[in-house]
Amino acid sequence: MTESLSRFTRLAMLLALIAVMLWAVAGCGEQAGEQPAEEPGEGEAAEEVAGENGIVIGYDQEPQILNSFIQGGDLAATSDMTAGILQAPLRITPDLSTLESAYQPELAESQPEVVSEDPLIIEYTLREGITWSDGEPLTSEDARWTYEQIMDEDNQIITRVGWELIESFETPDERTVRITFSEPYAPWRDLLATAILPKHIYENEDFNTALNNEIVGSGPFVLEEWRKGQDLTLVKNENYWGEEPALDRITFRFIPDTNTLITSLEAGEVDFINPPPDIGLIERLENIQGAQVETAAGTTWEHIAFNLEEVDNLQLRQAIAYGINRQQVVDEILQGEVPPLHSILVPEQGDFYTPAWEQYTHDPERARQLVEEAEAAGAETTITFSTTAGNALRETLQQVVQQQLQEVGIDIRIENTAAQTFFGQWTVEGNFQMGEWAWLASPDPSVTTLFSADQIPPDGQNYYRYENEQVTEWLNEADRTVDVEQRAELLRQVQEQMAEDLPLIPMFQRPVTYAFVEGLEGPEVNPTLAGPFWNIEEWSISR
């Protein structure tokens, strides 16, 4: 037995060696990647699945339902899946510099006309000869029916914000829509960027269930098949009223794990991915042979939030603002891919934006002084810092900030929890001192629900418990001001004042990253909620 044991030991060592070698191959297998493969496997499988003129998109989340109006349809997945199917009078483009460039006519013939500012009356005309994918004409009656569905009490509509201000929805003729609001409503374009649904198909169906698993629209593609848990496929709309799309077929494969998503592109199983920002993501994507990578600053912005009931000392907040080296933070976690953000709106929003937080440059000296003053006033310099657990980007940010603030005499304790609990309980109940999260921004610059004093939970999303009457007044006034110049002026005032009050410190815009195979043309980063597939009819593939 002793003899066999020693043999066993030798064997064990050999096996361990093999295991380590295998591991090394897996770990630093770039050598393998560099070998010139005569017949690269890249793209092969994706091609097999999608056919000559189709693509496979790796997508990290499966939609729950396809109806984006009702509860469950709030995920980005729903709007991304239906981007090629549904159309709206206006569509959101990546050019946010003016409202008119951000919202461009899609089903509407031209930019809507503001007939009167007070009372606000908007009128637009639908294009001539547009049809649903079944060939039936798309008319103003469909637009009205869609509005009626949103207002129908029996439907589980997610939001009626804006819609409830509509006093009358008139359709003078088949192509004209005239909307009268009960009070001026500046973000009215958002309502016109909402899809129109076909009345003749869903008229007699239950709106809460009929559009969950299948959907009919007027766009360049139609839904072919949704294999739950696996993939969803679109094919070319044979009756499309516009220019024929280049692609015949688009398959969305659902791959929830980011790492697997990237590996799938690497293995050539998918042609396009848009993974969420992560540490070292770009570097990894750029290492993939034959992949193109595109990235841009998005309109979702990360920020450090204060619960003003807990961190009520302004000097302490200023100390934190001066103590954090925001440039270093973005350099650390995103390799400087995006610059630090200086406001609660994004620069892409043109006139509405002003870099109000620019004054808070890294100044540890000043920060230390402010900490001392705050301490003298009795402020607690140990602060807990919370965010959603499992998000590497945020957790790294916390650790960098923790280190930076330690140098100016502020002790940061990190306490995180699952996103569910963080947004479901902590922010709502005010169970945090300093937090880190992101807001999704719509191209329209209204931020009233976030910072107005009458929006403190449970009434709204002012999780900062920020109460400034002046700001509240400006915000509400801005929402009622249809004139773009005046509205921009009010919102710039809001930003300047908030930079003084410091209920939050903006950090950066989340980068939006697309990676796709060579030969795929057309993807153009759209940082807004309109998502990557806003121009899917222009995509083409050559293998």
Partner: protein
């Protein structure tokens, strides 16, 4: 210990096995008779060379984990932005991570967390499980029904939601994770021990002890416990390994120990997306998990052989 040998000789079933053992071991039978139980166990254990090596490695690991503040060249939170993502070098023998932290130091401190969670869960859930298992098996009837009801109940408790909810109440620290794992894991040991005790409690030596008026507590501790100590020890080692693996699995699901406190599990999870670029960030914590659980399993195997009264050599 002495009791167990007596049982071995007196019990109906074991006697035949001792005979077999004697046959198999040939002339060794006589020598065995002259040793104490402890000597026999140690002698058998020593022969399992891999288990011996494993025990040695584990002791080293625990020493380095406990002494992490002494051995680690840097603090686990110490960031150095001039040295980001460096491969292993003389200065940082396991390289540095995305914040310029020294991987070697983090592996040591991470070991502290992982090994302590493992040991804590192993010891306490085994103690709890074994205690309740013995009581349940020994008393039977209502006590048994009650305790087994409790184990059945814990068994059906949904592991993930419990973690999710408790995580939102207590926040995840090494201590709370250990506690939660103890509460959720002890049942297996309890069931196993109870099963053993059920077949022991009506045996001659227990009946004899009862007849001469030995108290229940004494019977359980002095007569029953030594007979199940083998099962318990082996199970305890396996539980340590299980807890270390569970911690890493929980980290993967975002429910593990929260940064900046390192654990092997969360280090491995954090680094997995950059595995092809910064291989040193996955290999070292990954290796540590594999080596540790491997050693624990070998140790358990060695103990099983050494403690098994029926073992044929």
């Amino acid at each position: 210990m002495v009791d167990q040998r007596r049982t071995g000789a007196g019990g109906g079933i074991e006697s035949s096995e001792v005979m077999q053992a004697a046959e198999a071991a040939g002339e060794e039978y006589g020598k065995v008779e002259g040793r104490t139980q402890r000597e026999i166990v140690w002698r058998r254990f020593k022969r399992h060379r891999l288990a011996l090596i494993s025990a040695f490695v584990l002791i080293l690991l625990y020493i380095s984990a406990i002494g992490a503040p002494v051995f680690a060249p840097y603090g686990y939170e110490e960031q150095d932005f001039t040295r980001i993502n460096q491969p292993p070098s003389a200065e940082n023998i396991m390289g540095t991570d995305r914040l310029g932290r020294d991987t070697f130091s983090r592996v040591l401190y991470g070991g502290r967390v992982s090994l302590m969670v493992g040991l804590g869960v192993g010891v306490f859930s085994t103690a709890l499980g074994a205690g309740l298992g013995i009581i349940s098996g020994y008393y039977g009837r209502a006590v048994d029904v009650g305790i087994m009801g409790l184990t059945d109940f814990v068994l059906v408790l949904p592991f993930l939601p419990v973690m999710l909810v408790l995580g939102s109440i207590f926040r995840f620290t090494p201590l709370t994770i250990t506690l939660v794992l103890i509460v959720l894991i002890w049942t297996q040991i309890a069931r196993l021990v109870r099963g053993e005790v059920l077949s022991l409690r009506d045996r001659e030596f227990v009946q004899a002890a009862r007849a001469i008026g030995v108290s229940d507590f004494k019977i359980m501790v002095r007569h029953i416990l030594p007979n199940v100590v083998g099962v318990i020890t082996v199970q305890a080692t396996l539980t340590v390994a299980l807890a270390i693996l569970l911690e890493s699995a929980l980290s993967f699901l975002g429910l593990g120990i929260q940064p900046p406190t390192p654990s092997w599990g969360n280090m491995l999870t954090d680094a997995r997306t950059t595995m092809t670029q910064q291989w040193w960030l996955t290999i070292f914590p990954g290796m540590m998990i594999v080596i540790t659980t491997l050693c624990i399993n070998f140790l358990g195997d060695g103990l099983r052989d050494a403690l098994d009264p029926k073992a044929v050599e």
